[in-house]
Amino acid sequence: MLAHVDMDAFYAAVEVLDRPELAGAPVIVGGGARGVVSAASYPARAFGVRSAMPLFEARRRCPQGIFVPVRMERYRQMSRRVMEVLGGFSPLLEQVSVDEAYLDLRGTPVLKAGPAAAGAAIKEAVATATGLTCSVGLAPLRYLAKIASDRDKPDGLTVVADVEAFLATVTLKEVPGCGAKARERLGALGLGRLIELRALGRERLERLLGAFGLRLWDLAHGRDPAGVELEREIKSVSHEETFARDIADRAALAAHLLNLAEKVSRRLRRYGLAGRTVTLKLRHQDFRLVTRRQSLPQPSDVTQEIYQAARELLVAYAPRGPFRLIGLAVSGLEPAGGGQGGLFDRQEQAKAQALGRAEDLVCQRFGQDALRRAGGLAVLGQDTPTGHDEVGKK
């Protein structure tokens, strides 16, 4: 039996937790002057506010909404607490995002009293430890657990005891990965429920949707090879930033890039990874997205090296902009500290690594913004001014 645990309106719920006077209010979490909604509390959703909606649209739909900025650090902190609690129920825990995880409960003590009792125990433990509610779905198959957790939101609990009976109720819209395009094609054939795909035949599904068609065929028959993966392989580590106002100035872009390099390299070090390929991402004013990449001589998790490579790409990119967004990704990952050592600059490398470690320790204790490179400070006022809150609370 697998459990899918999904926190309810997570960011908004954390905001309400920290400011109890907001309870029951339409809380909308989003960032920047032109940002989008990152999360909306259930009262806000009643006004039609949804995640990823532009903030101005949210304001239009819900003028009385309480708009608060994103405090990612705080959400991560709460997320860690939630995952700790979940980890207590099963060692087979796969965190898929900041507010979502799968648990393989097979053979665990909590399941002895039955799946419904297990789900209730998980919900209660999360609520006791964090004051937050979550929705839990239990099913013998991964995708069904995910669908089930969404059935009774918020504060829901859904147990799939009879797979065949449950399958009969699943709409295509509920199936993870089944997007608007796929639904449109299937809808044109009069198909709206997962189980109806059985009538279509495997070959026709494949012709219609390719590899995804084959996956849907399996799902329609209650087959899902995916279980709970202990460690999903991380392919790349990236960060990006949408500007409050479009930027053309190269120095300002470089400063943003330095901040991104700092974040990316810290994440790499936290995962114990180093990457070979640095990718720069720029979105033009007309939403055109361009990426440029280059390889490092050796895999790196060092801020300065990643920044250098990204900056070279920025300098080499001729069009002037202005740009809406800048992003930085490092891929070609492998475990850090392994592999072929270099003959030259070994002292410099050792210093850079020691600097990274010291930086990580400071930031672990005092928050992401406690220590920054001066070159990135030029733009600090514009992005996340929330790290200081974090320090203040500690």
Binding site: S295, P297, G339, Q340, G341, G342, L343, F344, R346
Partner: protein
């Protein structure tokens, strides 16, 4: 242009120009060779702007002139021509007419006036060097030249004139950042040879030089800060030096090594070959475990399994293990001649120094890898 040249000379000159001329290039004329008939000579020139080949062959010239034609095609034709002599004549619109026996060709060319000028290299200091010596020096250093063009200052062979005691030595150094090879040779006349600072000869130029050196005989090597010129018989190479400064390589050669193992080169090579079959493709990582009198080479691959083989070595001291890219040692074993080679270590973190009595003036440094 109108001339007659021996087929053998034409084919030989074109053969030697092939590796210099780039097949794919943004300047189409660089895929061509320049044929220049003057006096009693036909000069064949090929260049990629960095490396230039010039071959001069006897010819009966009835009308001096210059044409350019596709290098590869002309070579393919020259090889197959039926007669001993080849008649070449420039025709209108840059066509080259070829006759040999009953075979005739009219080959499309490009205007010779558009062919790039080669650099002026007169007056460069020169050194005469035996082909055998030069080819040994290149063979022992070329494999560790960096293959990455992003590290352009490592993408060539560093050449230096060194003074030790009262004698001068010519030094070649190469490194790809992970390993380094260095060889010193005493060369007659080196004392008078004016090479003040070290220069970097690009990888491609080094491999062209090597081909000439391997033919034996004597070569005349001219070196300046901007160009290298190699003269041998009817052939001349002009190489543009690599820009950038070569790293301070001397600091990475460990001086105070404490642990030293002596082992048979060929036996070591065989063991490495067998054990590295199991190693992961990308890194070829193997562990060398040294114990009293024994070296065990071990390779672990999560996908394939494990391989190990022991080799008797001359080593006394504490046991230790250190990881390496097997490829680096294999390259080195192939380039060295000594029956016995020595591996010297400071510790597991510092690079290993490799020498051999049969390889005078040579040493190599390899950085370990963490497995």
């Amino acid at each position: 242009m109108e001339l007659t040249v021996r087929k053998e000379d034409l084919a030989k000159g074109l053969a030697k120009s092939q590796s210099v001329v780039e097949r794919r290039t943004s300047m189409p004329i660089l895929s061509n060779v320049l044929l220049d008939a003057q006096g009693e000579q036909l000069t064949i020139t090929g260049t990629d702007l960095e490396t230039s080949f010039i071959g001069v062959y006897p010819a009966r010239v009835s009308q001096p002139g210059r044409v350019t034609v596709p290098a590869r095609k002309l070579y393919e034709i020259a090889k197959e021509l039926p007669a001993e002599d080849v008649y070449l004549k420039e025709k209108e619109n840059n066509y080259l007419h070829i006759t040999s026996g009953r075979a005739t060709y009219d080959l499309v060319g490009l205007a010779a006036g558009d062919y790039p000028e080669l650099p002026q290299v007169d007056g460069i200091p020169q050194l005469t060097i035996a082909g055998e010596v030069l080819s040994e020096m290149i063979e022992k250093t070329i494999f560790s030249i960096s293959q990455e063009d992003t590290r352009f200052n490592l993408a060539g062979l560093y050449v230096q004139k060194r003074k030790k005691d009262d004698s001068h030595r010519l030094r070649f150094v190469s490194t790809d950042g992970h390993r380094l090879s260095l060889i010193d040779k005493e060369i007659p006349g080196l004392g008078e040879f004016a090479l003040e600072a070290g220069v970097i000869i690009p990888r491609k130029g080094v491999s062209e030089m090597r081909k000439l050196a391997e033919e034996g005989g004597e070569l005349v090597l001219g070196l300046s800060q901007r160009y290298a010129v190699v003269n041998k018989d009817e052939v001349k190479l002009i190489l543009r030096m690599q820009e950038g400064s070569f790293p301070d390589y001397e600091v990475v050669i460990p001086k105070n090594t404490k642990r030293k193992a002596l082992l048979g080169r060929q036996a070591f090579e065989g063991v490495l070959r067998r054990v590295s079959l199991i190693a992961t493709d990308r890194f070829q990582g193997v562990r060398l475990d040294f114990k009293d009198g024994l070296l065990e080479v071990v390779s672990n691959n999560p996908d394939l399994g494990e391989a190990r083989e022991a080799l008797e070595v001359d080593y006394e001291g504490e046991s230790f293990g250190v990881g390496f890219n097997a490829r680096y040692f294999l390259d080195l074993c192939a380039a060295m001649r000594s029956e016995q080679i020595s591996l010297s270590f400071v510790d597991e973190q510092n690079p290993c120094v490799i020498k051999g009595e049969g390889d005078a003036g040579f040493l190599s440094v390899i950085m370990p890898m963490r497995l």
